[in-house]
């Protein structure tokens, strides 16, 4: 397990700080520990349909877990992760109970889980067995014991149905920010299309690792040229992503024949190495980095207290100046805790701005869709005839608008977190908590667009309205005729009856068409309203979660700082009054304690450099080491 070393380090640190009565620091380390333990690394496998995504997953785990067909495509996202025994679970949202399934604190609703035999999976997650996902599965989970998946690696086979720019594509987009890596799968028959390049560009902006996988190299003689062209396209588009060529067929053949040469030809070893080193490695590196940061910060705070005590004991004359400095620092750090602190303002204002902005953005997008749809209805004659097309168009547009809106929200939220962190450290060393920007599928709760059957205009209705018109006509003109002595039924009144009957019929038809059009427009508007309602609730919840996480994170940081300074202050003040023997004892003790902390510090540093592959940790360089800086300086500069 790659996480075992950081966990051991955290345990050691917990032991070391046990003698100091600092529950706040202990909680921080315990948080770090639990974060390490459930670290999952999500890899999204995306691409146009029929490019070999499911087969790629099968090749990676060397088992036919995802169903593969020549024709129909996967419909439900499939998550493949490590487990002790092979098992498959289908997951869906609980049966509809309106849009209020989310409780007020914004937690995602509980899912309904059904365990099934792996062999039956195909019947549930493919177009063939479950057309249009009538069973409403949200996703499927497959557990399988595999070394490849160690280290919390999770492969997500995304649906290819409809291609990248469809409703499903939009759902894939929305999953991007929560992924640790994205593999774009494209087969070697053709170079990248503009859609694929656009997708890569967007993926790159929100996801740390994006790689391109060129599949089916066993069938296409010119795959090397295609790979070269694709690399060229990537360069021109300014997307910095690695391109790996693989052949799932060869990989599967190599597993059957246990032929190592064939395996290396299939390109899978390189892909697995990429996943292990770059994706899992980087996630591991990130985990080590944040763990090291946590431990170092804790040590630092304890060391500051010890050092100021030491200084006060060693030179009682200067104790007063130390106390004065510390008091000042403590006052400043106390201010950080206050609600009126600057970072609080930044956070609150930022979230409020963000709320307003994304709401506006969402409404604007929906308005545009509604406008276009209404134009279409106005030009399209009877909306009943084009309703299927129109409603699926509107749904797709809405889904992709929501996805774009959501990506933007995530980006802005991350930026906001950085802004707030700047108040705490000028060097940008603050490791931010992982923002919980995942949202539920808001569109799941949106009620389907429905056009009421409305008034039928069948033969009997037509006959009736024609009759009504002609009756009035005959009566009217017949009565007029009686004035000049004609019978009630005469050629004129009959003619008028026919005319008015025809007119009545035409009027009714026009009226019904107009009503249908306005009903169609209303249905679309209602749907978009629903989308806005649900999505804005989702994104408000998400922002609230982000806000709460950031506030808790920074408040606890501020509190820790404050407590450390208070402790330093208290010990410095104590040192003024203590007896000479006591002073001597402490002076002898403190270097030992500091030494212990320094040892831990060194150990933690090796933790980072051990797993350091790409040298991604410039911010923990030795010049920040507390031993080099004056005793009380570093927490104080952190406040400025």
């Amino acid at each position: 397990m790659p996480t075992s070393k950081p966990v051991a380090a955290v345990d050691l640190a917990l032991q070391t700080i046990a003698p100091y009565d600092r529950s706040d620091l202990r909680t921080r380390l315990q948080h770090a520990r639990s974060r390490l333990l459930d670290g999952r690394v999500r890899v999204l496998i995306v691409g146009e349909f029929k490019q070999g995504k499911s087969l790629l997953v099968n090749g990676l785990v060397s088992a036919p877990v995802c169903p593969v067909y020549d024709d129909v495509a996967t419909l439900v996202p499939t998550v493949v992760h490590a487990a002790a025994t092979a098992r498959a679970t289908l997951v869906r949202l609980p049966a509809e109970d309106g849009g209020t399934a989310n409780d007020s604190d914004g937690e995602l609703p509980a899912m309904e889980r059904v365990e099934i035999p792996i062999a039956e999976l195909a019947g549930h997650i493919c177009e063939a067995g479950n057309p249009g996902n009538a069973q409403r599965w949200h996703h499927a989970e497959i557990g399988i014991p595999r070394v490849v998946l160690a280290g919390g690696l999770e492969l997500v086979d995304t649906p290819g149905v409809g291609g990248l720019n469809s409703v499903h594509g939009a759902a894939t987009m929305a999953a991007l920010p929560s992924a640790d890596a994205v593999l774009l799968v494209s087969d070697a028959s053709a170079e990248y299309s503009s859609t694929e390049l656009e997708f890569l560009r967007q993926a790159k902006s929100v996801c740390p690792n994006v790689a391109c996988v060129l599949t089916k190299t066993d069938v296409y003689p010119d795959w090397r040229r295609i790979a070269e062209l694709d690399r060229h396209h990537l360069r021109t588009a300014g997307v910095d992503a690695e391109l790996l060529a693989v052949s799932s067929t060869l990989r599967i053949a190599s597993i059957e024949s246990k032929d190592a040469d064939l395996d290396s030809e299939s390109g899978f070893p390189a892909l697995i190495a990429y996943l292990r080193e770059r994706v899992v490695g980087q996630a591991d590196q990130l985990a080590r980095r944040s763990t090291a940061h946590d431990i170092l910060a804790v040590i630092e705070q304890l060391a500051v207290t010890l050092r100021s005590e030491h200084a006060a004991h060693a030179d009682p004359e200067s104790a007063q100046t130390v106390i004065a400095e510390l008091t000042q620092a403590q006052q400043r750090s106390a201010a950080l805790k206050e609600r009126s602190a600057r970072w609080q303002h930044t956070l609150n204002d930022g979230v409020a701005d963000l709320n307003a902005d994304i709401d506006y953005d969402l409404r604007d997008r929906m308005r545009e869709i509604s406008r276009e749809a209404e134009e279409e209805v106005d030009n399209g004659g009877d909306p009943h005839k084009i309703w299927d097309q129109l409603s699926s168009w509107a749904e797709q547009e809405a889904a992709s608008a929501v996805a774009t809106n959501y990506l933007w929200t995530t980006q802005r939220a991350r930026w906001l977190a950085d802004q707030v962190a700047e108040h705490f450290s000028t060097e940008g060393t603050e490791v931010l908590p992982k923002l919980r920007t995942e949202t539920g599928d808001a569109l799941e709760y949106v009620r389907e667009m429905q056009l009421r059957e409305g008034e039928k205009f069948g033969t009997s209705q037509k006959a009736l309205s024609g009759l009504r018109g002609s009756y009035v006509g005959v009566l009217m003109f017949g009565m007029l005729g009686t004035v000049v002595g004609l019978p009630l039924i005469n050629p004129f009144s009959l003619g008028a009856g026919l005319l008015l009957g025809g007119k009545g019929l035409a009027d009714d038809r026009r009226r019904i068409l107009a009503r249908r059009q306005s009903e169609a427009k209303a249905a679309i508007r209602r749907y978009l309203d629903d989308v806005i309602f649900q999505v804005s609730k989702e994104s408000r919840d998400m922002l609230r979660r982000v806000q709460r996480d950031l506030r808790d994170h920074f408040t606890s940081r501020a509190e820790e700082l404050n407590r450390s300074l208070q402790a330093s202050l208290a010990s410095a003040q104590r040192s003024v009054n203590v007896s000479a023997t006591e002073r001597k004892r402490r002076l002898a003790e403190i270097p030992g304690e500091l030494d212990k902390l320094e040892k831990l510090q060194r150990k933690v540093r090796t933790l980072v450099s051990d797993g350091d592959i790409s040298n991604v940790v410039p911010d923990l360089s030795p010049e920040h080491a507390p031993s080099d800086s004056p005793a009380s300086q570093s927490p104080i500069t952190a406040l400025s």
Partner: protein, 519 residues
């Protein structure tokens, strides 16, 4: 049919009249003139589709020679016309300036067009004259792929096939290639539907499931798998309204089948002689098949293959046939296909190109006059919106168009066909299929329309015709039919009448109808 000839004459008159009205607008007059000449030319069939769908390969397969350049990278960047001519010639039409002849170069049997450093953006189109039997029936137009990485190439195709307003599309019919039914494909097909005059949308479009040999990674049963996919697409409501039918075709297999060389057959025979296990191992992947074999001692199989067929030959075979083609050929030879001609025939049969040419023949070439007339009517109708046209002339032209459209039952047939297919008009179950067939949805020959065997006696044809006529007349008069449905039923009955009239007219001549020729 005589109706089509009459229609042709009427359209000719209309075009002349329009040309007169636009005498002071040389540009439009020229267009109309051009259209008039077009009526006598072969049908223009554009081959369209997404980038890398295999358009140029299919065009080559239809012509039977390497006239369009093919490459694994995006390759066709200019709209290129291929028409029948006495001798090979290439002419470039730049966006500005006079047409320029280009030298005809052949490299390894393939035509190479050198645009002489002219950028693709500056060229409106290329015109290639090529003596070929297949081009005598229809002029083929190769287009750059849509959804290409180069936005301009996409733009060129889209403007060519669906011009913004002014001009009318230059193609009379479209063969749309797709590898899978993709959102972009449906969108494009939809935009190709045209409005106005004939309102026949799907009538002039056929979809092709291209590169069918690559389905499922080139397994030996790839073509039958492709056939099943095509069957499914054919019944897909989204696609039904957009095209006439879907045919799976492997362009590469068809082209090689038409041009198979003796040396290639010999090499394939050698491969087939290898023990099955060895040839299977060599055919596992393209790299294994082409690797020289000496680099790594572990690749025994590849080395064995190398002894008998050189690496260079194998590479060429791969380009010509693809992995599927080689697998198929080796299997066929093992099963007893023993001559180049027999293998070529088998490849052609399996490539699906026969089905495609048959579909093109029944749906397009036999309707040539009709489709041409339709294009012409569209052009004139578009010209009516021109602001400098006199009101009197406009009225006269509009009336003439109306007269032609109302009088041409063939146009009505086309319009109704697509209305039924797109679901605009819904007929009761069972009636829709029959109506489509009678309106000429699966072919215009009398036997096909009546749904009787192609070699039926005239008497049998007439009998079937009378029976159907009676049925549809009853339906048309049934008070339960809605107005639209009654209209369709009357039109179908009219089609039946037309066929019966044609049958009795030919009675005095030698033979009836035009039953489907050999396939």
């Amino acid at each position: 049919m005589t109706g089509a000839a009459q229609l042709n004459g009427a359209v000719r008159g209309l075009l002349r009249l329009a040309a007169k009205s636009f005498a002071d607008q040389p540009e439009i007059a020229h267009q109309l003139d051009e259209q008039l000449r077009r009526l006598d030319q072969p049908l223009r069939v554009a081959i369209a589709g997404k980038v890398k769908a295999g358009k140029s390969t299919l065009l080559n397969a239809l012509v039977g020679e390497q006239v369009a350049a093919t490459d694994s990278a995006e390759c066709t960047r200019v709209v290129t016309w291929y028409q029948d001519g006495p001798a090979p010639a290439v002419v470039m039409y730049p966006q500005v300036g006079a047409p320029r002849p280009l030298p005809v170069q052949r490299h390894d049997g393939a035509l190479v067009i050198d645009m002489q450093a002219t950028a693709a953006e500056e060229v409106e189109r290329l015109l290639v004259d090529w003596p070929s039997q297949s081009l005598r029936e229809m002029t083929l137009i190769d287009t750059p792929g849509i959804a290409s990485t180069s936005a301009q190439a996409t733009h060129r195709t889209v403007t060519f096939l669906t011009p913004a307003d002014e001009a009318v599309t230059e193609a009379d019919a479209v063969v749309y290639l797709m590898r899978h039914l993709h959102a972009t494909d449906a969108q494009f097909l939809e935009s190709f539907r045209d409005q106005a005059v004939s309102q026949a949308s799907s009538a002039n479009t056929v979809a092709v499931l291209s590169r069918a040999d690559e389905v499922g990674g080139g397994r030996v049963d790839a073509m039958s798998s492709a056939r099943m996919i095509a069957n499914r697409y054919r019944t897909e409501p989204a696609l039904r309204g957009l095209c006439q039918t879907v045919v799976p075709v492997s362009g590469l297999l068809a082209l090689t089948g038409r041009t198979l060389r003796r040396a290639e057959f010999a090499a394939l025979t050698e491969l087939a002689r290898l023990p099955r296990a060895e040839s299977d191992a060599a055919l596992l992947s393209v790299d294994r098949f082409t690797s020289s074999g000496t680099a790594e001692p572990s690749r025994l199989s590849a080395r064995a293959a190398d002894d008998i067929v050189s690496a260079q030959t194998r590479r060429r075979l791969l380009d010509r046939l693809g992995l599927f083609g080689i697998r198929l050929s080796v299997t066929l030879i093992r099963q007893g296909t023993d001559s180049p001609a027999a293998l070529a025939g088998e490849l052609l049969r399996r490539s699906g190109v026969y089905e495609l040419t048959e579909v093109l023949r029944t749906l397009f070439t036999s309707r040539r006059d009709l489709l041409k007339a339709r294009s012409a009517l569209l052009l004139v109708e578009n010209a009516l919106t021109h602001k400098d046209l006199h009101d009197s002339a406009r009225k006269a032209l509009a009336a003439e168009i109306e007269r032609i459209v109302a009088g041409a039952h063939e146009l009505t047939e086309l319009r109704l066909l697509s209305a039924i297919r797109s679901g605009e008009i819904t007929l009761p179950d069972g009636q829709a299929a029959e109506a489509e067939r009678l309106l000429g949805g699966s072919g215009v020959s009398t036997a096909v329309r009546l749904g009787v065997p192609a070699d039926s006696e005239r008497e049998a044809l007439r009998h079937a015709g009378m029976h159907l006529l009676g049925q549809w007349q009853t339906r048309a008069e049934s008070p339960l039919s809605g107005r639209a449905n009654a209209y369709v039923c009357r039109a179908v009955a009219r089609s039946c009448e037309g066929m019966l009239v044609a049958l009795s007219a030919t009675e005095t001549h030698s033979d009836a109808g035009s039953p489907a020729k050999q396939s």
